[in-house]
Amino acid sequence: MAEILALVEHRQGSLRDVTFELMSCGRKLAENLDTRLTAVLLGHNTGEFADDLKTQAHRILVLDDERFKDFNSESYQQALSQVIKSENPVITLIGHTAFGMSLCPALGAQLDIPSSTDCLDIEMNDGGLKVIRQMYEGKLDARVRFRESPSYLVTIRTGCFPAEDGNLQAEIVSSDLKAAEPQHLKFIEYLEAAVGDVDITKADVVVGVGRGIKEKENMAMVEEFAGMIGGVVACTRPIVDAEWLPKDRQVGSSGKTVKPKLYIALGISGAFQHTAGMKGSDTIIAVNKDPDAPIFGEADYGIVDDLFKVLPALRDKITELKQ
């Protein structure tokens, strides 16, 4: 059986968590298919990464070149397409990240390999490859079948395949593939997120507000409520997009990760990009008028009602209790 490949993702000198999730997923697939898992590592001076991954895969294929130090979709794609052509893997696993969102669809179209993105689960047997992925903003799951092909590309959603310790002894193989000088894309630099006045990651109580708040004017009542219970106001991405709160208040995959004692989600649907940043909170309460909102699958306690009715009532009850 052809092998499983999993792409190592690293940034600014560190392996990213998703790499270990990919390896766990890859080991399971390799076991089921009675084949081996190869970690493909593009980078520069990557000895330490290879050490950290030793128990995770049967083999680590290292492509070392200064041009691979930072992610460049063009040079990475160029090299990976050659790796895939020569290794003929049955499945290539990539993280559904800013890295994978650029690479996977490009490799698929270039190599004419069927690909599927943002997968929550993967199953491969005589019936071919099937994946589970979410649709309609997390409201439904789809079981997706691929056309028959000797090779497939899959990106997996972070958090779906918990990282586990491996007990393998990887053989480290260095490839002599070198990076071509990119013709179209030049990486310039990383820009760190701006730091604001409130650090939502340090607060014990976070009141998260989503698009259910409707108008900018309504933000004041949330601020007031948060102040009353000694919390800070955080939000979903659309609230930042609308410029009602600064970027440093955004919770989620492209914002911050918070783990407060209490997180109150007001008018938040519960997209996985948001919950990725708050599901580690000790106690989660959600107020949403839609009983099917995915947020109720993350919350400990829920109220299915209009937040404009619940919030004033809750404010009054808490005031009473405090007297």
């Binding site: 698009r211 492209s254 839609d290 699958g297 809750l314």
Partner: protein, 257 residues
Amino acid sequence: MNIVVCIKRVPQTADAQVRVDSSGKDIEKERLTFDLNESDAYALEQAVLFKEQSGGTITAVSVGHPDTEDTLRMVLAKGADTAIRIKAEDFDELDGYKTAQILKTVIEKAEFDMIFTGCMATDDGYYQVGVNLAQLLGIPHATLVSSIEIGDGAARIKRELEGGLLEHDEISLPALFSVQTGINVPRYASLIAIRKAAKKEIAAVGQDDIDKDALVLNTQIEELFVPPVTKRAEIFSGTPEEVSGKLADMLNEKGLI
């Protein structure tokens, strides 16, 4: 700058009931409202901003069913010059890659310096069509773009990575940008513009113009289902006063307030 914008009309599902239909592979559409895909609104606005800055034309293209014309008319009212509907009804089942192949056959005939797409469609969530399309056209791409500055034959862009980190890149033109929400503040169309757009022609392209047999379908939905529940919140029920009372007591007991 001549710009092509790829747009999709999608059901608005965030606060609606979404039910699987009798085929088990699609959703019941009757009670849903449809609108321009969220990130496509930002892609369109970015095109309009560049046009206002330095001229050029904007062509909006969509693979969609006849009601997509309503969305395209709104796109014209917001500043696109021409709109093309590729008849989805002519092409049976679609996935991201097949959609990109169809878009390619139409867009390769257009003159463009830049193509804008949204970063993902909220119905299928493929995050795929834009990058597939760039690859099929043989032009470079950038995903999750949160800022674009045009220079001489190249653009300086910022891409959003995880955790609020940005990547600053330079990319040669022509190129495709898959745009992240928040890159600008999309405008509303004026009533006059809406009235004008109502009279504009929307070009239709179908199977007579595109070789259906050459298109590859990579993936098919076998089944749609409600996600299995792993954890479910304890729901407080009653009037707002009652549920607030229960919640406040619980928070108080736990020492959280």
